[in-house]
Symmetry: C2
Subunit: 308 residues, 2 copies
DNA sequence: CGACACTCCAAATTCTGCTTATGATTCGAC
DNA sequence: GTCGAATCATAAGCAGAATTTGGAGTGTCG
């Protein structure tokens, strides 16, 4: 097996025309080049050079190796260039798995920022609800998972049993305030904030399973069991159901920011309820430049939104 | 610049699926592989692997490098194979520059032997008279030069002034007896040997310039100046001229062996005259397997002919 | 004929890389 | 759940390699 350094030096010797010139070009001393070429000839088993007065001449084997050297150094250079592009964020692919409301808010904004500065980085997006997204991360099907957790719930992070092997890293992005979604004609629709305990007699519309579980829990903490008459994980359906007067619903502010219906309004709820939106990534993937970059953008976007 | 050994190990790790398996396959210990891959990731600037429980998974950069590794190792292997073929005499090209009578005798015989055992070796033949053939050798236009020298003449070897720089090596092949070519009707045509001093009154046909010079010299040593009525370096013409009775000629036995004319005969000459046929090669070229092989074959052919 | 440039040679130093030994971790089996 | 096999990471030690340094010979050019 030839040493790529020897090949490189050999190629330089051939194009420079002398050992000394090659040594100067490569930052070696001349004896180093002499020894490298000697080692190369040894591993080739055939002389490569013939001395011709002041210059040197290639033997048949030398001519052959010179041709191969072009190819070898070319493919080495191509590999180096491609990996360099990945390292310097001129290329890269990041697979994100997020829940629907993040896909509609954080992800597009972060992607827009990303493409502005690093047009070579590609994003692949897939959708999954919190428990599943982390599983996909652990299965290697995505690089970043976005999930939300309700306080008191087991937490999406460690829901995958042990997190020791894969070293799952949790990156808090924002605290998403929960609002109560009311039809505009509702008696509390003009209040600034609504006490949850004032809604014990309402009919409720519940969202995704974990949202529904959270609803039941916070109501239980307030001392009542909500009358859930409808359950759907389609936020648009929830909004329409509320508008139609079927019932009220808890709705994260993140979702409200991209839904709007003339007949519904979101009000802050007392006590303050919220869900934590976090990004998850395998610790080893933090060293992947493109992944780290997307995480930075997500953090920036979340911080900006938190500020509002 | 990637180290080709690292690329090879990386490729083995990818196909074997683990560091340990790659180490076993390559004859390394496991920590050696760990260090090599660490160094490779350092020079790549990007992580290449992600640990997935017992196995490992490639990152995007790792996938890219794995694809390049195929190409790199392929071209390295191709180079090694071609140089190996040259070293093991499965391929090779030898350029020989010889004088006409060698081209008609020694060269074909040696080439026949050569091709029998080493069909991959190619011979390129060019023709030149002794002074010129060595010059071509020094100019790198051929690998082996065949030349003849007459005793007492300056010698073809050092005729190129200094032989220090290029280290010209002289390899004696055979001692070529000179004969005198007589028409069959000549009074001495039946004698076993003819004394040169008996031919003082003959008309002479001279060959190439150096042959002519040799003729003049040997005659002078016998105390007479030959009456040269014709000069040509065409041996066939010489033979015909002798057959036509124009004169007599000195003719090396090597030439006689492939010329034959009913009306002429070659007789040994007294005193014994001969020319030395030698091969010349640059000392460095002795290490080129194909060149050395051809020299061996030439030596063998010459020795066989000498024995006759 | 002298000066410069190039190469080779030999020795010493610095270095990189491999190995051995040890510890931590994970997966499979009982 | 626990034991055992296997894997990887780390540290220390050592050997071999590669480079640099210093010196000499040689050809080339002015």
């Amino acid at each position: 097996m030839f040493d790529s350094r020897h090949i490189k030096t050999f190629h330089e010797v051939v194009s420079a025309g002398s050992y000394s010139a090659a040594a100067r070009a490569l930052g070696y001393t001349q004896p180093a080049v002499t020894q490298q070429m000697k080692a190369l000839e040894r591993s080739a088993g055939v002389p490569l050079f013939t001395r011709a007065g002041r210059g040197l001449r290639l033997t048949e084997a030398g001519e052959a190796l010179a041709r191969h050297a072009e190819v070898i150094l070319g493919s080495l250079s191509a590999a180096q260039q491609q990996l360099g592009a990945l390292a310097r964020l001129r290329a890269g692919r990041v697979r994100i798995c997020a829940f629907p409301s993040a896909n509609a808010t954080l992800i597009p904004e972060a992607t827009a920022r990303l493409l502005a500065d690093h047009p070579g980085v590609r994003v692949e997006l897939m959708e999954a609800e919190p428990p599943e997204s982390v599983h996909r991360l652990l299965r290697g099907e995505c690089d970043i998972a976005l999930a939300f957790t309700y306080p008191g719930s087991p937490g999406a992070a460690v829901s995958g049993a042990e997190n020791g092997p894969e070293e799952l890293v949790e990156i808090p992005l924002l605290e998403d305030q929960l609002t109560v979604l009311l039809p505009v004609g509702h008696p509390y629709a003009r209040r600034h904030a609504v006490r949850l305990s004032d809604l014990t007699e309402e009919r409720w519309i519940a969202g995704c399973p974990r949202c529904r579980a959270n609803l039941l829990q916070v109501c239980a903490e307030e001392g009542f069991a909500p009358d859930v008459v409808f359950t759907t994980d389609d936020n648009l359906a929830v909004q329409s159901l509320v508008a139609a007067g079927v019932g009220v619903a808890l709705m994260p502010a993140l979702v409200l920011s991209f839904l709007s219906h003339r007949k519904v309004t979101g009000r802050l709820v007392e006590p303050h309820l919220r869900r934590r939106v976090c990004a998850y990534v395998l610790r080893e993937h933090l060293r992947v430049p493109a992944t780290a970059l997307v995480l930075d953008e997500l953090r920036a976007v979340a911080a900006a939104r938190q500020g509002c």
